[in-house]
């Protein structure tokens, strides 16, 4: 199975023979670790998820953040003790593990989740119907029964409101402490799936337990974390995935959100300026562009200008680093928009065939000029080959004799410069009948 946890990456091989002293030190560490583990197990086996167990999980997870069962015990501690009240749909017992995965993570309709913003902001597109909740109760009571005299009922309501506010303060404090707990672990193990997923579970709890405006505040900080982690490792796909998830939630109705496509697009700009070779950033850009153009309400002219700008930018980058695959993949993305708009998100749906041909041939010409400066970079020949084939396909014709001659020449260069992939070059030769 594809799980990289626990495997050795990039650690230099050393002698496995330990001195007596080293061996004894290992044995001491093992004894300490196992004692901690035994304590947690003995208690959780009895269904004990008290603060004692909680503190033991802190110690154990600091020693071993990959220990997923301990992260689960910690969740159960929070649900059964630290949070203001057990979340519906969750249970602390081991035997509950057959519950569906969404039961503990989706905001439960029985939770006080969506009241206050519903009372103050008319008609948010919240997926759940507003319910009389904690902090919203007063506002709703005063608008629906403005002249109601003081009754036991309203006194009870006031007490409930106060209790709800206290509960929210408690939950927010627990969540913030928990989020802070994982930070040093994440900095030490930035590719540990379990830490990232625990953090996402906490954030889901914020949606389930806090009013949207408060929950939003918690989620917003996560963007800073994602940026921090990507600052340390620009390609960390956990951090990129986390960022996408956080953005999607911040955009969602559950958090009273609006589109973040512009700032996220600007973020890819920033990341690309730092490191042109960061394909993760180029990829992210490719996913944002269709939405960006739609949300800008871009007309045909604006779309053309946008594409011009993207092409110019990537061409300049390729001029500096033509051996960088990341750049060529992004160039391909832009070209696919021209040649296969039905299969790939079309940035310029209004383009006529003539427009597409004009853009494609300009790219081919530009790349041909590159050969004059770099005659030994195989990616250039690969692009020329691919795009020339597209050109003939766009015009629904076979390659002309001069194009064929070019294809043969470029294939020869590919074979010479990149013999590792000779099997592929042979297939291309067969596919386009270039060996006749």
């Amino acid at each position: 199975m594809a799980d990289q946890g626990g495997s050795q990456h990039g650690i230099a091989r050393t002698s496995r023979v330990r001195t007596d002293e080293q061996r004894q030190r290992d044995l001491d560490r093992i004894a300490k670790y196992r004692e901690l583990e035994d304590q947690v197990r003995a208690l959780t086996a009895k269904g004990d998820y008290s603060s004692t167990v909680f503190q033991l999980t802190s110690k154990l997870l600091r020693l071993n953040p990959e220990y997923y069962t301990i992260w689960n015990a910690r969740r159960r501690c929070l649900i059964s003790g630290s949070f203001s009240r057990p979340s519906a749909g969750s249970s602390c017992s081991r035997e509950s593990s057959t519950t569906s995965p969404t039961a503990t993570t989706a905001p439960s309709s029985t939770n006080y989740s969506s009241s206050s913003s519903a009372a103050t902001q008319p008609a948010p597109s919240s997926p759940t119907a507003p319910k009389a909740g904690r902090s919203g109760t007063t506002a709703e009571a005063s608008t629906t029964t403005p002249d109601a005299p003081e009754t036991d009922e309203s006194a009870a309501t006031a007490a409930a409101t106060e209790a709800a506010a206290a509960a929210e303060t408690q939950d927010l404090s627990v969540l913030k402490t928990e989020l802070a707990f994982t930070i040093p672990l994440l900095l030490e193990s930035p590719k540990c799936y379990w830490i990232w997923s625990y953090r996402l579970w906490l954030l889901q709890q914020a949606i389930a337990r806090l009013r949207p405006a408060v929950a939003r505040g918690v989620w917003e900080e996560e963007l800073l974390l994602a940026s921090k982690m990507l600052g340390k490792d620009r390609r960390n796909f956990h951090a990129w995935g986390y960022r996408r998830h956080v953005v999607a939630q911040l955009e969602s109705a559950a958090l009273g959100g609006r589109s973040l496509v512009e700032p996220e697009f600007a973020y890819t700009d920033k990341m690309i300026r730092t490191d042109l070779s960061n394909f993760s950033a180029w990829h992210s850009r490719s996913r944002l562009i269709p939405r960006l153009l739609d949300e800008r309400g871009a007309d045909a002219k604006a779309r053309r200008a946008f594409l011009d700008n993207e092409l110019q930018q990537i061409r300049e980058a390729i001029n500096v680093g033509p051996e960088d695959q990341s750049l060529w993949y992004y160039h391909q993305f832009l070209v696919l928009n021209l040649v296969a708009p039905d299969k790939h998100p079309a940035m310029t749906p209004d383009f006529t065939r003539e427009d597409r041909v004009a853009y494609l041939t300009r790219e081919i010409d530009e790349i041909k000029e590159l050969v004059e400066d770099y005659d030994d970079v195989k990616l250039i020949y690969e692009a020329l080959f691919e795009y020339t084939v597209y050109y003939s396909q766009l015009e629904e014709r076979q390659p002309t004799p001069s194009e064929r001659a070019d294809l043969v020449t470029w294939l020869g260069k590919l074979r010479e410069l990149d013999p590792m992939r000779n099997g592929r070059w042979a297939d291309l030769e067969r596919e386009y009948n270039l060996n006749e």
Partner: protein, 327 residues
């Protein structure tokens, strides 16, 4: 004390006996701290070690009865398996359990002494997100195409794929496809060789390879081979033996293995061996582990390296096993 300095000039050979000894020694390292720190991977580790031994042609190098006992001792009432006794049930360890039981031909023991196939199938099916079709790793809800593949892998071995909504899962994979032909962890995520393996293998199990853009994907995968012969997992990253499995098996599934230089890849994997003490590392001179060992050997098997048993490119199990179980 890096080994690279001592390496002979000529291409190294497969150190098969050393690898067998290395794998056999893994459960006797209880005086090493790492042994305890990796208990959350014990069942996965057993699957990796057992598969490696089968590929090395030593299927009896681990005791069968103890293997089955251990696997069954990890099972929960709900049918799922934890990584070791006392560890919570999870998709990853459940899939490993099913793969191990399939490999040692012990589904009948699961029936008589365990909770039975049907219960395992129920556990896995309960983790499908019925709205999107993807799968969670456990009750806490982390979703990833790894878990979707794991579910398809185990359920098809158990003959219980009918318990889940295959079509929805297939649509979810299709939504994970990128312009470069690859697949990511979830819709919108960057293409990654590990996720490509899980998505293409799941589509293969579902009989839906027609959804794969084989030309474009094959091209992306073939570009993973870099100078030195090793494969990387994404553009502009370092090579690593584990991608000898994920990239190569994906190429094999779409019929494009000949798009890379097999000899150079085999030589790279062999350079990552610890020839004396056994095991394979991520890169030459690094620490070995059982995970890189099995994926290195599985890669060599796909490359038809002499002396290794054939591996199934979809299941990462001995082909003899998948032939017996799947018919």
């Amino acid at each position: 004390m890096s080994q690279t300095l001592n390496q002979p000039r000529e291409e190294p050979q497969l150190a098969a006996p050393a690898h067998v000894k290395y794998i056999q020694s893994l459960d006797s390292r209880k005086d090493e701290y790492d042994y305890w720190l990796t208990e959350h991977l014990r069942l996965n580790g057993l699957y990796w070690g057992l598969t490696a031994l089968h590929l090395l042609g030593q299927p009896d190098a681990l005791p069968r009865a103890e293997t089955i006992d251990f696997v069954l001792s990890c099972q929960h009432e709900n049918g799922g398996f934890g990584a070791a006794p006392g560890h919570d049930a999870h998709m990853l360890s459940t899939v490993s359990a099913v793969q191990i039981l399939a490999t040692v031909d012990a589904f009948d023991e699961l029936e008589t002494r365990g909770k039975g196939k049907a219960q395992v199938g129920q556990y896995i099916a309960s983790l499908q997100n019925r709205e999107t079709g993807t799968f969670a790793g456990d009750e806490w809800g982390e979703e990833d195409t790894r878990f979707l593949y794991g579910a398809f892998n185990a359920l098809s071995l158990l003959g219980l794929l009918n318990l889940v909504d295959v079509e929805k899962a297939v649509n979810h994979i299709a939504a994970c496809a990128n312009f470069d032909g690859g697949y990511g962890v979830s819709p919108g995520a960057e293409s990654h060789s590990g996720q490509i393996f899980t998505c293409v293998a799941a589509l293969t199990i579902a009989g839906r390879q027609d959804l794969v853009d084989k030309e474009r994907l094959g091209r992306w995968l073939s570009e993973r081979q870099i100078a030195g012969g090793g494969l990387n997992g994404r553009p502009e990253k370092k090579e690593d033996v584990c991608y000898s499995w994920w990239v190569l098996s994906s190429l094999e599934m779409i019929g494009k293995t000949h798009w890379i230089d097999k000899d150079q890849l085999a030589a790279f994997i062999l350079r990552c061996q610890d020839p004396e003490r056994g095991g394979i590392a991520d890169r030459p001179g690094d620490m070995v582990d059982v995970w890189h060992t099995v994926f290195g050997l599985a890669g060599l098997s796909l490359l038809q390296y002499p002396g290794l048993q054939p591996v199934d490119e979809v299941y990462c199990m001995p082909k003899s096993t998948t032939r017996r179980v799947l018919g």
